[in-house]
């Protein structure tokens, strides 16, 4: 077998977005840690998050973390675990303050405190009206979080292996021994031997055609765990964000609606008044995405096409403010100051000036609520009995705690990253102090190296992009905003064919240096498996809840389905489903009305 370098650490963290960097900052205080990322850390997709991070600071109006918790549970369509949600929302407050202390340049209110704005599903629990809870730095909050955490990692001398692509987990029985990584620049394989492994590798929005996700979001960490015997939790719940730029999928933050923007159909109606009479355009994302889809199906898409308008022009916004008796007004300068990147995106990609014209938007595949099952300390759980796999951790979008349940509230992804990144980093460091470095098994990298060599030397003639496009079409048509038994079954059949086709994938580049052809083909394998798990989980769940909207089972069914899905890989294309109960708490499930 090929020569493989070995490195030894207490813990390795895979992925250098918000969750990975936060975990690294905390874990490196007590343990020898390496952060391994296929991208330079500042390229991570945390940096694309726009509108804000939710925390009940109460800087401008009354707010309580318990209100944030209720909104999160309601937003989740009652599938979130309420003990975990309490941790999320309580610790959100101190964590946002901590980010400020790290230097994060939040926008400020005139009194010097962190500026907050409205966001979908975040309410004053007494009035039901929107509350200003989203702490933000213009519309580049994620960028500032990513930059700040990376800066702090530099300050604290965290060890980075940039452009190292982790491709396997070394698991022996119920222990972890490290990971295998592929050095992109050289094509060499490396083993990182460690007591603990932490996956913070983000989501897999690239399973769908129209997505807000980066090309690099191929679910590698989740797929690796799946292949190494970890079930995937709640994979049928994937969020379609209501406002992606038409055709491109580039995200237009909910902050646009938080600042007063409204959705308009071809009849000029503010249609969210019908679907969510109280908070209208600021209903939670699943509700708004379905509303847009229904408007389009009813022929009220703009020019009969499959998009609607998002209107933040001062004339429109101020008219609605006046109708609703709100005192505030917005103007060009306000939009340029609060939403500069959005204005730049629509000007660049659409030639639309959002100060003067509405923006064409459609739902875009955005966020995985499901993923690697963990507890509130990031420890990975292997089954419905919540058996811990000691030394294995996950946090951020790759993980499923579950705080987002069936539908994530806007801003809560950033909260999730920092809260559970921190908790998992702390726990992992303690774990490393109390455990021994176990020996590497013989030929620990052989299996994955063989997989790579098979792809590199395949002569099957199938172009990877054809398979990828097939998967994206199958998932969009079969497992999209709405789905039925028939559409999901069709997608599963198509996925089986694509899995076969994938065996014949051939790459042009047979070399070692920066062979991104080979890596993209390997990533495609990850996407295919996660897409299949998503479809299999979706087919079984015969109800509608949050982001999983079944036209053939339109109601939520708490009697039978108030439970988490666990999908285990048995063999290529063979999966086994299991379920575990939802942890309830203060909030009894009730009908969700916005």
């Amino acid at each position: 077998m090929a020569k493989v370098q070995t490195h030894t650490f207490d813990a390795v963290i895979v992925g250098a977005g918000g969750a990975g960097l936060m975990a690294a900052l905390y874990a490196s205080r007590k343990a020898k840690v390496a952060v391994i990322s296929k991208l330079y850390p500042t390229r991570s997709h945390t940096g694309a998050a726009q509108g804000g991070i939710g925390a009940a600071l109460g800087n401008i109006e009354e707010d309580h973390w318990e209100w944030h918790a209720y909104d999160t549970v309601k937003g989740s369509d009652y599938l979130a675990d309420q003990d975990a949600v309490d941790v999320l929302c309580r610790e959100a407050v101190e964590t946002v303050i901590e980010l400020e202390h790290m230097g994060l340049p939040f926008d400020r209110f005139p009194n010097g405190k962190i500026s907050q704005r409205r966001f979908g599903g975040h309410t004053n629990n007494e009035t039901g009206k929107p509350v200003m809870r989203a702490c933000h730095a213009a519309d580049r909050t994620g960028h500032m979080i990513l930059q700040t955490l990376y800066q702090q990692c530099i300050k604290n001398n965290v060890a980075f292996y940039d452009e190292f692509h982790v491709v396997d987990l070394i698991r022996v029985g119920d222990t972890v021994r490290g990971v295998v990584a592929y050095e992109i620049a050289t094509g060499e394989f490396h083993i990182f031997r460690s007591k603990a492994v932490h996956f913070a590798t983000g989501g897999w929005g690239r399973c769908w055609e129209v997505t807000s996700n980066a090309h690099s979001l191929t679910g590698d960490g989740a797929a690796i765990c799946l292949r190494r015997g970890v079930p995937m939790q709640d994979m049928e719940f994937f969020q379609f964000h209501p406002t992606g730029i038409f055709k491109l999928g580039v995200l237009i933050t909910e902050g646009v609606r938080g600042e007063g923007g409204v959705l308009i159909n071809s009849a000029g109606e503010r249609f969210m008044e019908k679907y969510a009479p109280t908070i209208k355009d600021l209903a939670s994302r699943d509700v708004v995405s379905r509303a847009i889809y229904l408007e389009i199906m009813a022929g009220r898409g703009i020019q009969g096409k499959n998009y609607v308008h998002l209107d933040i022009t001062p004339a429109t916004v101020n008219r609605y403010f006046e109708l609703e008796g709100e005192k505030r007004r917005i103007d060009r300068a306000y939009i340029e100051a609060k939403l500069p990147d959005i204005a730049d995106f629509t000007r660049t990609y659409l030639g639309v000036d959002p100060v003067q014209e509405p923006m064409p938007v459609q739902p875009t595949a955005h966020y995985a609520m499901g993923g690697i099952p963990t507890d509130v300390d990031g420890r990975v759980l292997l089954d419905a009995a919540k058996t811990v796999l000691p030394g294995l951790y996950a946090a951020g979008e790759a993980a499923c705690v579950s705080v987002h349940g069936a539908n994530r509230l806007g801003t809560n992804s950033l909260v999730d990253l920092v809260v559970f990144g921190r908790r998992s980093g702390v726990h992992m460091a303690d774990y490393c102090q109390g455990s021994d470095l176990l020996p590497l098994p013989e030929g620990a990298a052989d299996e994955v190296i063989a997989d790579f060599e098979r792809i590199r030397h395949s002569t099957g003639g199938v172009k990877p992009y054809i398979v990828r496009a097939g998967m994206q079409k199958a998932m969009t048509e079969g497992v999209g905003v709405f789905r039925t038994d028939e559409t999901i079954s069709t997608a599963i059949a198509q996925m089986a064919e694509l899995r076969q086709a994938y065996q014949g994938v051939e790459v042009d580049d047979k070399g070692k240096r920066f062979n991104t052809d080979l890596l993209e083909a390997w990533e495609l394998g990850c996407l295919l498996e996660l897409a299949e798990v998503t479809a299999v989980s979706a087919l079984a769940r015969k109800e509608s809840r949050g982001g999983h909207a079944r036209e053939d089972y339109q109601e939520r069914d708490d009697a039978n389905w108030l439970k988490h899905t666990l999908c285990q890989r048995i063999d290529d294309g063979k999966y086994q489903l299991d379920y575990k109960p939802v942890t309830l708490g203060r909030y009894e499930p009730k009908k969700r009305v916005y």
Binding site: L39, Y40, T42, R43, S44, H45, G47, A48, E94, I97, E100, H101, M102, G103, P105, F106, D107, R108, F109, P110, N111, G112, K113, I114, A137, A138, R140, H143, M144, Q147, T148, Q151, Q152, I154, K155, A185, A214, H215, S216, L248, V250, D341, D344, F345, T348, Y349, K463, P464, Y465, V507, D508, D509, G511, K512, R513, F514, N515, T516, D517
Partner: protein
């Protein structure tokens, strides 16, 4: 429409020196980005083409390159903007200058990040935060003072467009100065004196000859040259 794409190619495993690759694409839309057409070449014609990319909408900073002679992000440059009147659009893509080419459009970014790390690009404030456990206060005016330079995505479009950097790559370059500026002018930060000392050194801001290439190249529309000038002013006057 049809697009003729010339890409500077170099594979260290095969080529002794860089060469030009020529590709023709049909059915290109004016709304396609340069990244879209590079992907089409890579996926449909030649998988060996190597480039970095991730977010595809101008926020991750992976795909800075020289497009028709000017630095830009491939994902933020639409073909419509490169049209030059004729039916067939011609686009030429090269790696950014001033850093060693590793393969095709991929350059060695380590020297760039080393310069970045040399300017203390992190928040320093050793006084205890407010006793009430809350945020340090900052007025909107103080926050606005350094807003422009917080937008930097470290894509290197500025540094690799700078003739002073081309002439001597020990110069920290515009991007590192932008990063330092973001902290020097942050009212909460306490390490401006140390940063100014670093930037007042031989390979600091005085290498800048106010050419404005950096400002023109910045895909985030940061006024880079102004930021550098503000650091020069601070060094000269001692006033931040």
């Amino acid at each position: 429409m049809q697009l003729q794409l010339r890409i500077r190619r170099f594979n260290p495993e095969k080529d002794k020196k860089p060469r030009w690759g020529e590709y023709t694409l049909d059915n290109v839309s004016p709304n396609d980005s340069v990244l879209d057409v590079l992907h089409r070449v890579k996926w449909e014609q030649d998988g060996t083409l190597a480039l970095r990319r991730s977010c595809a909408h101008g926020v991750c900073g992976s795909d800075a390159m020289r497009i028709n002679g000017a630095n830009a992000l491939a994902c933020k440059t639409l073909i419509a903007r490169l049209k030059n009147g004729s039916e067939t659009v011609k686009v030429q893509v090269e790696p950014i200058l001033g850093m060693p080419v590793l393969k095709d459009l991929i350059v060695d970014m380590e020297p760039f990040f080393d310069h970045y790390k040399s300017v203390m690009p992190y928040f320093v404030n050793d006084t205890p935060p407010p006793a009430d456990g809350r945020e340090r206060l900052q007025s909107p005016e103080d926050r606005a003072r350094f807003d422009d330079t917080t937008k930097c995505i470290l894509c290197a479009a500025c540094t690799s467009s700078c003739p002073s950097f081309w002439a001597n790559d020990r110069y920290v370059g515009p991007a590192a100065i932008v990063q330092a500026h973001r902290f020097i002018f942050d009212s909460r930060d306490q390490a401006y004196a140390e940063r100014l000392k670093i930037l007042g050194d031989t390979f600091g801001v005085w290498r800048c000859r106010t050419i404005f290439n950096c400002t023109n190249a910045c895909p985030r529309e940061i006024e880079v040259t102004r930021a550098i000038a503000e650091v020069k002013m601070a060094l000269t006057t001692g006033i931040v």
